[in-house]
């Protein structure tokens, strides 16, 4: 499989950027959307006003998209029921979503990788680890996250931890499945018979084979983490309400849905666009890196 992935990765270099775009429209579209979002989130202090500034005089002002590129305009996305700038809050909300998504993807794939390698390689550990993962998977992820957040009381690190825990079992199962098939291949027997220690066999020979499906999985974990974070914020079990997130913006504005639909629409649309972009990148990467999985999922 590593061979196939390498071939696939090598192919576009001969044709240049245009061929890459034509062959991977989903990666390019999704990636472009994500990069725009990332830049907006990083530059938030320079392009958006104060997301926390309350101005009851200006409450529920409708959006005026003609001002979109006017620096300092308050009515780009309109204002919410406290007169806060919806544009600024949406841009700052992107920071929380992207941070949580990327952090959860990183931690859950890293932890899941090593647990999965251990479960797949050491038969003695396999049953214990996998039963534990079965149990973790039986607990609905958002409820487990709610319980963890409710116990330890908010903050972004707690939210990241609470979303990471329920994502780990899926990664473990994936890695273990790859290890189980790779372990039976002749080059592993060869490595063992020339006296390589288990640690070296795992890290040098097995681990590289798990990377392609793991990268694909990481994008799906990232998308799912952003959705769960938004759900937690929406339910009031996420980051503290004074930090604007797409989830708590919608929760705080929902009573004004009929009078001021824009207060719900803009954060909701951004949420959907970001998650869709990540899923598109994930689908594209899957088709490129992991043809076997691609055939099963398509």
């Amino acid at each position: 499989m590593a061979g196939v992935a390498a071939e696939a990765a090598a192919a576009p270099r001969s044709g240049g950027a245009r061929v890459f775009i034509r062959r991977n429209p989903t990666i390019v579209i999704g990636g472009a959307l994500l990069i725009v979002m990332l830049i907006l989130a990083l530059l938030a202090p320079f392009i958006a006003g104060d997301p926390l500034h309350v101005a009851p005089v200006n409450r529920l002002q409708p959006p005026d998209l003609t001002n979109l590129f006017v620096a300092g305009a308050m009515d780009r996305f309109g204002t919410d029921n406290l007169g806060r700038d919806v544009f600024a809050r949406t841009i700052y909300g992107a920071r929380v979503s992207l941070l949580v998504g990327i952090a959860v993807a990183f931690f859950s794939t890293t932890i899941g990788l090593f647990v999965g390698l251990a479960a797949g390689y050491y038969r003695a550990l396999d049953t214990i680890i996998m039963r534990l993962m079965d149990a973790l998977m039986a607990i609905p992820g958002i409820l487990l996250a709610i319980a963890l957040v409710a116990l330890t009381r908010g903050g972004v690190p707690v939210v990241i931890f609470a979303i990471t825990v329920p994502e780990i079992p899926r990664v473990v199962r994936l890695v273990r499945a790859v290890v189980l098939t790779v372990r039976e291949r002749p080059f592993i027997d060869a490595a063992v018979s020339v006296g390589s220690r288990p640690r070296k066999v795992i890290l040098r020979h097995i681990l590289p084979n798990t990377l392609a499906p793991l990268i694909v999985q990481a994008t799906y974990v990232c998308a799912s983490a952003i959705l769960v974070e938004a759900g937690l914020s929406f339910l009031g079990a996420g980051v503290p309400p004074e930090i604007p997130t797409w989830g708590n913006m919608i929760a705080q504005s929902r009573l004004f849905l009929s009078r001021a639909p824009w207060t719900v629409f803009f954060p909701g649309a951004c949420l959907a666009i970001v998650v869709l972009a990540i899923n598109l990148v994930g689908d594209g990467l899957r088709d490129r890196l992991d043809p076997r999985l691609a055939r099963r999922m398509r």
Binding site: A135, I146, A150, G231, R254, S258, A272
Partner: protein
């Protein structure tokens, strides 16, 4: 067959036991004193002391677990601090709206998604196929509450076709009950439809490429029986599996959907408990929902023998 069912049933015991251990440890390994966590923010020191005694917190951890699991097995999920009533009773009271929502969503989503998946596979590469796959990717990306508010805005506020929110018991009549479940079911079911339609299409494509399908076509079997009897039945095992696994999506989504549409079910019970730090309720609902998930997937495992007689473990 019966031996198989019993074996599968026995196999769920360690999983449920581990779920119980995790739920138990959640409270006991968290920073701070479990008794004060369970007692909530406004508890007096007397209340905390009595909870500590009831939980046996001065005993070793495994003994505490034994006491707790003993209570759980007798249906005692603890006592709600806010309501001052048994958690099990509260969950039972709120069960009807949640079960109604889950069942209407399940029926709606499974019918729609399998139809879409079969049609997409049958007309693979067509505009219909692309549209179905587009819905599948989008359905996975839009969160339940965004879909919910969008539906409310269009169909309840603008068009005024359906009620904005709320729930009526089924005893009040079928239509008032169903009318308030239409929008919640669509919002909750969208991701589920996306998931099942995708898997249905994939497995149907594999099955439709089999020799016996060509044989069936060659001997003149009409399209509909060919698709349904010959192909879909053979594609059933992966589809039923994903229907079972996807129930996790439904359970997570129920909590959010009930908040969006103000449905007084078990999900709302949990959400209200978050703000009140009513920990016994959160613990109890996690146990019940996990139990439901495990049982649904047990049912899925057992259904394999019906769809595929070769399954004999």
């Amino acid at each position: 067959m019966i031996a198989y069912i019993i074996r599968r049933l026995v196999a769920t015991i360690p999983v449920m036991l581990l779920v119980a251990v995790i739920v138990f440890l959640l409270v006991h390994l968290a920073p701070g004193d479990p008794a004060s966590v369970i007692a909530g923010d406004n508890a007096t020191s007397d209340q905390i002391a009595s909870i500590r005694a009831a939980l046996g917190l001065n005993r070793p951890l495994w003994e505490q677990f034994a006491i707790w699991i003993g209570h759980v097995l007798q249906g005692d999920l603890g006592h709600s601090l806010f309501w001052n009533r048994p958690v099990a009773e509260l969950i039972l009271q709120r069960a009807e709206p949640t079960i109604s929502l889950a069942i209407t969503t399940l029926i709606l989503a499974v019918t729609i998604s399998i139809t879409l998946g079969v049609l997409a596979a049958w007309k693979a590469g067509s505009g219909l196929d692309r549209a179905v796959m587009g819905v599948a990717v989008t359905g996975f990306s839009v969160p339940v509450f965004v879909v919910g508010y969008l539906l409310v805005f269009v169909f309840a506020i603008q068009l005024r076709w359906l009620p904005v929110q709320g729930y009526r018991p089924i005893a009040d009549g079928l239509w008032p009950w169903f009318e308030r479940l239409i929008l919640p079911s669509i919002a909750l079911g969208l991701a589920y439809v996306a998931l099942i339609a995708r898997i249905t299409r994939t497995t149907m494509l594999e099955v439709l490429a089999e020799d016996y399908i060509r044989t069936a076509e060659a001997k003149g079997v009409a399209t509909r029986p060919m698709l349904l009897k010959h192909a879909l039945k053979n594609a059933a095992v992966p589809i039923v599996t994903i229907v079972g696994i996807g129930v996790a999506l439904l359970i997570g989504g129920v909590v959010i959907t009930e908040t969006v549409f103000n449905i007084p079910g078990i999900g709302r019970l949990v959400v209200d408990a978050i703000a009140r730090r009513d920990y016994p309720i959160i613990q109890g609902v996690i146990l019940v929902f996990s139990g439901v998930y495990v049982l649904v997937n047990l049912a899925v495992d057992i259904s394999y023998t019906f769809f595929d007689p070769r399954v004999r473990y």
